[in-house]
Symmetry: C3
Subunit: 287 residues, 3 copies
């Protein structure tokens, strides 16, 4: 799957193979990055004390099965290394060595899941790796959503946006990323997106989501015109929600602290956000 | 849904919100126009005595549900206004006013369907609206299919075509529009389209559609090569029909008056029309 | 369907109608060519003694039914001519002649299938046809995969590749073509493609395909990380196999003669081939 990532805490490094080089990029809070499907990569937490938090969007459109399928090219018992599945004769011929020689490489400490602790020696080896692959300078740097002026800001909050126009890695995926900071007792003006499907992830604070969607109708009712249905849901840290193109919605910071939501905007190309209240309200231009 | 429209009678106005302006375009018989999904718009019949007739094509490819979903941002009991579905506390906060104040805006006379009569005062208000939104000059003008030379013309009839090459609004939708005028007792040469699916709408006259399609086959029969099936149908004003890419068809004006058909050509980009008889007959170039 | 073809033996000619001309291109062993959906064409074996062998890929993405549907614009009882399905009155009007006059054209000797023997006289008529349609010079020439330096070559074999960058006809279809020659007792390094689905057709020799694919898992197992499954299959002349993006695989020439495989790479645009062993091994760049 194509992968878009957003760092929400900690410090680390992402490394991936690009045109026979290992390309490394530093990651810090607010960084947006993307890695194309099939590119081998790893992520390293380089901070001694803090956890590294990353939100990922996986787009499976390039998968012929439509499923998310992950392949570990380095691994052991858990996760399995894809290479270890080949027959012993294939491996011996491919690596020109006996399976016994391969074993250490195939295991690499991966026995209890895809996340492992890296020793100081391994860390040094990774650093040497970085020096070896000093190239890849044409690959983009991460784009930081926080170290720039917000796209919108007033007494009630601020919005930071990164889309195809800002960053090549997002254009490839047709995805935008947005961060909303809403002060307590504030709300966004009711709005909808013309083309994007949005996935929202609540990072901090508590709030309310209100969304209006079309109501399914019987044939006879359709002559009465469309009717709509309201959905109201509580937002807590970790809540994930989705809004479809055309469906109006609003979020309200109902707690005592700011409400912070990270959005992935899928199919963001050509999308417009239409507000139904406030200064940019489309209703102002209608009779 | 993305919308392509063709005016077949009367006079009016289409108005839509584009980059915080209300853009208005005059509509008259033969005009082709398109409005992208999610753009709020209204259509006004400005003629005192005549009806305004418009044929619309709705492309739902940007809808994640695959359904056509319409949203009324101004409305009342029927159609419902999407805004009216939000909770009263949301609306009061959004509009900084009590629901009572909102009521007139929410109702606006929409109680018996999406089409309403506009009083002289409301018409004036709409005109003021137009002055306010004097911009949008970069948005294209409607394209008139009739006020130009036909793409094809002889004693038997004429064809007017508008596609991506002619008009930006059609390129966005990958749709072409075509008008066929066929004199009584005339027919089109049997032909097929290489990539377009065509939707035909009979506007005037009577005729016959003949179409050849592949016949489904049992496994054993397939060794005998493909076989085909003829469909023959009467065409009357209002008849709608569809032809798939590759399926040869012809229409015949069988009545005493001209047969006029409006076509929407879906996926018109890269399409070629191949004739199986007549001067441009592909068979002339085959052994 | 859009068609990509690769000539694997013999000599011949492909002729198709392009902008009211008959365009002809010579075909010989190793030639790659493509014909867009809906373009009438025929293929002629011009060699007196040898068979003409062609491998074809049919892409049905432009078909609204998703099925491969073939239409014969010249034909008789088998295959049927699509034209012959129209009503007699339609045909008489279209061709301005009685059905009796049409009969010879409609039959043309096609009674026992889509492949017929062409007499010396008919061959001459086809040659005259070629002179008539001397144009189409802007249409590309076939691209020969063999009369160029291999993209990769060493003691174990060689690889010839043609993709969008090489040839306009392949860019249209988003398809690449590749020919692999593997010496006896040689193997390809285990590898996967990031975006392409590959269809392999064994032309000569015997071998083994080994492929690793993800194993479907129960919910509970998923917490254990992904597991994989090996597929091992014998390759013989005529064997057709498919590899999905991301699935690592290798082929081994296990017989006494070279193993030759023709590949069609579907969705080749933006694809990268990642090797898991050998000089370009992505593992070299990982810790």
């Amino acid at each position: 799957a194509d992968l878009a990532l957003y760092v929400t805490g900690g410090r680390g490094r992402v490394a991936f193979v690009h045109e026979e080089r290992l390309v490394e990029r530093q990651l810090r809070d607010g960084d947006v990055y993307a890695i194309a499907a099939g590119i081998p990569f790893y992520i390293l937490n380089t901070d001694d004390s803090r956890r590294l938090f990353i939100h990922c969007l996986l787009r499976t459109q390039c998968s012929t099965t439509g499923l998310y399928e992950s392949f570990y090219v380095v691994g052991g018992r858990n996760p399995q290394n894809v290479l270890s599945q080949f027959s012993e004769d294939v491996l011996q011929a491919a690596f020109n060595s006996s399976k016994a020689v391969l074993d250490p490489m195939l295991v690499s400490g991966f026995n209890r899941g895809a996340i492992i602790t890296v020793s100081r020696e391994q860390m040094e080896r990774l650093s040497r790796g970085r020096i070896k692959g000093f190239g890849g300078s044409e690959e983009p740097q991460p784009f930081n959503l926080l170290y720039r002026n917000p796209d919108f800001s007033n007494n009630n909050g601020e919005i930071f946006t990164a889309d195809a126009a800002d960053h090549r890695v997002l254009r490839r995926l047709n995805v935008g990323v947005q961060l909303l900071n809403l002060k307590p007792r504030s709300m966004t003006a009711p709005h909808y997106d013309t083309r994007s499907t949005r996935i929202g992830i609540v990072r901090n604070g508590r709030g309310i989501l209100e969304l209006v969607r079309p109501q399914e109708q019987e044939q006879q009712q359709q002559q009465q015109g469309p009717t709509y249905q309201k959905l109201r849901a509580n937002l807590n840290p970790g809540t994930v929600f989705l809004t479809r193109p055309g469906y109006p919605s609003t979020v309200i910071a109902s707690g005592n602290e700011a409400l912070q939501i990270l959005y992935f905007d899928i199919n963001s190309q050509g999308n417009r956000r239409q507000f139904l209240a406030g200064r940019s309200n489309v209703l102002r231009y209608l009779p």
